[in-house]
């Protein structure tokens, strides 16, 4: 998957680049409207991660231009303003999603994968890993062909683990993924724990492997035990 990162904060772009490259994405970085335009003119990308506030203009201008020429590409807007108006404007212009700064890299990854699935994988919306199958269209999870009865949050949690497999996910990042801004730190960690406990139970009861590893102090990792 080819991703164009349009972000003027070079160091931040580097973080995204590092994280996404490990996921097997091909990433390129543009730090201005002008550079992004010239890249978009010459190459084809699957998804563009677009910061709205750029030194030489507004990211939404790029979006407008892109939507006129290449409607295939998915667009994820990044904004530091976290203003509803920006979000509405962006989505109305045809962006697929909106992510407010600060975000967790795992969250960015999950959102990009979701855009990618929606746009590219028509027909094949099934993600499979170590005997666990998630059908992202039907919102169904199967373990060894047995349908799991998961709550909405448990489903979201499992999907988040799967798209960020082999990565350490902090409790904070999980809590924010599940509840967004409704929740404040400490309380939510217990809730995360309870959801993970239930999810583990449901997977193992269905005969699946318990792939959720507790990383001491930091969070959880979804990976096959080596």
């Amino acid at each position: 998957m080819k991703v164009l990162l349009v972000e003027d904060h070079v160091d931040l772009a580097k973080n995204m680049h590092t994280y996404l490259s490990k996921e097997g994405y091909v990433c390129e970085v543009s730090e201005s409207v002008e550079k992004a335009m010239s890249k978009l003119g010459g190459f084809k990308y699957d998804v563009m991660v677009l910061d709205i506030m750029l030194p030489d203009g507004n990211g939404l201008d790029i979006l407008r231009w892109v939507k006129q020429t290449d409607s295939e590409m998915g667009v994820l807007i990044l904004s530091a303003k976290n203003s509803l108006q920006d979000k509405i404007d962006g989505l109305e212009l045809g962006a697929d999603d909106y992510l407010a700064k600060p975000f967790h890299l795992a969250e960015l990854n999950a959102r990009l994968k979701s855009i990618f699935r929606r746009r590219q994988l028509q027909g094949s919306s099934v993600i499979e890993y170590q005997g666990i199958q998630i059908d992202t269209e039907k919102h169904e999870v199967k373990v060894k062909e047995v349908l799991l009865d998961l709550t909405r949050k448990e489903y979201e949690l499992l999907l988040y683990f799967l798209v960020n497999k082999n990565r350490v996910l902090t409790k904070q990042s999980i809590a924010e993924h599940l509840w967004g801004d409704y929740i404040d730190a400490l309380d939510s960690f217990d809730f995360v724990y309870q959801h993970i406990k239930n999810l583990r139970k449901k997977i193992t009861q269905a005969g699946g492997k318990d792939l959720i590893q507790t990383m001491y102090g930091s969070g959880y990792k979804f990976a096959a035990v080596s």
Partner: protein, 418 residues
């Protein structure tokens, strides 16, 4: 009272004094003129009687109406003396002030004392007529002034009223500067110039403040995102020992706290800057219902029992975004400052909304909780801005908010004041 009428009244008051003095002067002038006329008239009569005495040479006193001639045995001639006297008026049959001429004069070798008196214009007639004309003038002036004042009030003050209207409709966040029309009055032009400069300055300041708030948010959030990303990459590398991992996770927590604080302060600034202007009729019941659904899971996870007594179709006039923020803040507060197996109770009706929840007593004075960064020392996780935001939204929307604590229960009551 309208300025123009104050001005008219003052003018009429001063002109009353002027008319009074004018009356006195008019009286003096007329009186002097009449006196001169009377003197001339009496002197003519004296000539006439002198000639009459020359012809008749009377030896007996001659007394007629308005003339007395007494032949004198001895004496000396005197100058003509004018004086006032009171004489019985023959036709009016009452005493009237008269003008009198006395002289002792030698005619044909004999001395005569001659007194002639007459009345041309009575003195109080002069007073009366001066008084009457002054009063009539004054009344005329009053009427004219009131009419002129009324018209001038509309015509002269039109630019002023126009300026007032423009200032009334002035909104600090409007993009274009206020355009005042050029008027023919120096004072109004000065006022308009001043207002134009002032409103432009205010708009400029407001824009800078707003831009600053937005940019500050951007400038803070982007480096925070960078820092969080770096730490997450560090965690993902997997080379950290337990101690280092804990440090990284704690740092992540602090960064998140910082970011949320920035967002909350930004929100407070935005409310202060009156950026939430889309006041409309919001379905409070519906917004509350949706928010409760969002929080349902968190409420269940903490085994809190929720009791609701919410009327449907409670419409409140406020900004819809602020409505959601207000309700979310109240609900998340009620969950956060609660204990396991506690309770939350909400009551919504057309008068107001109240939410109460179990929880330990606040360590600070109840109403100080509305201040920024006032929070309970026992629970460090909150930002200390939640209730400040609640208060600000309520103030902004014209609601009254009250906090109280009794029976191990926090009560927060909002009156819609509709």
């Amino acid at each position: 009272m309208k300025l123009i009428f104050k001005f008219t009244l003052l003018f009429l008051l001063i002109s009353m004094g002027v008319f009074f003095l004018g009356g006195l002067i008019t009286y003096q002038v007329v009186k002097k003129e009449i006196d001169e006329e009377q003197e001339r008239f009496l002197l003519e009569r004296l000539d006439f009687f002198t000639r009459w005495i020359e012809r008749r040479q009377p030896t007996e006193p001659f007394i007629r109406d308005k003339i007395q001639v007494y032949p004198l045995e001895s004496g000396i001639e005197t100058e003509v003396v004018f004086s006032d006297t009171v004489v019985m008026h023959s036709t009016l049959e009452r005493l009237e002030p008269h003008f009198k001429l006395d002289v002792t004069k030698e005619v044909q070798g004999r001395l005569y004392r001659i007194s002639i008196y007459d009345l041309i214009v009575e003195e109080d007639d002069i007073v009366d007529s001066v008084k009457e004309s002054m009063i009539k003038f004054y009344l005329l002036l009053t009427v004219v002034m009131l009419i002129v004042g009324g018209i001038a009030g509309v015509v002269l003050f039109r630019p002023f009223n126009q300026t007032l209207e423009q200032i009334k409709s002035f909104r600090i966040d409007q993009k274009e500067p206020v355009a005042f029309d050029k008027t023919g009055t120096i004072e109004f032009n000065k006022l308009n110039d001043f207002l134009r400069e002032m409103t432009a300055k205010v708009q400029q300041d407001y824009r800078s403040l707003r831009e600053f708030a937005e940019n500050a948010s951007h400038e803070i959030q982007t480096p925070l995102t960078n820092a969080i990303g770096k730490l997450e990459l560090l965690l993902t590398s997997g080379d950290l020992n337990e101690e280092d991992t804990n440090r990284v996770v704690a740092t992540l927590g602090s960064l998140k706290h910082l970011s949320k604080m920035g967002q909350s302060l930004n929100l407070l600034t935005k409310i202060d800057n009156r950026e939430f202007e889309s006041i409309e009729s919001v379905d409070f019941s519906n917004t509350l219902c949706l928010a409760i659904e969002n929080f349902r899971e968190l409420i269940d996870l903490k085994s809190i029992s929720l009791e609701t007594d919410n009327q449907e179709n409670v419409m409140v006039s406020m900004d819809p975004i602020l409505t959601a923020i207000l309700i979310n803040n109240l609900l998340s507060n009620a969950i956060r400052h609660n204990h396991e197996h506690g309770f939350i109770k909400t009551i919504l009706n057309h008068q107001g909304f109240s939410i109460s929840n179990s929880g330990i007593a606040p360590a600070v004075e109840p109403n100080a909780l509305f201040d920024r960064f006032r929070k309970d020392r026992h629970r460090g996780e909150g930002l200390g801005l939640g209730l400040a935001i609640v208060k600000k939204i309520c103030d902004y929307s014209g609601f009254t908010v009250f906090y109280g604590y009794n029976n191990q229960t926090h009560h927060l009551d909002i009156a819609f004041n509709t």
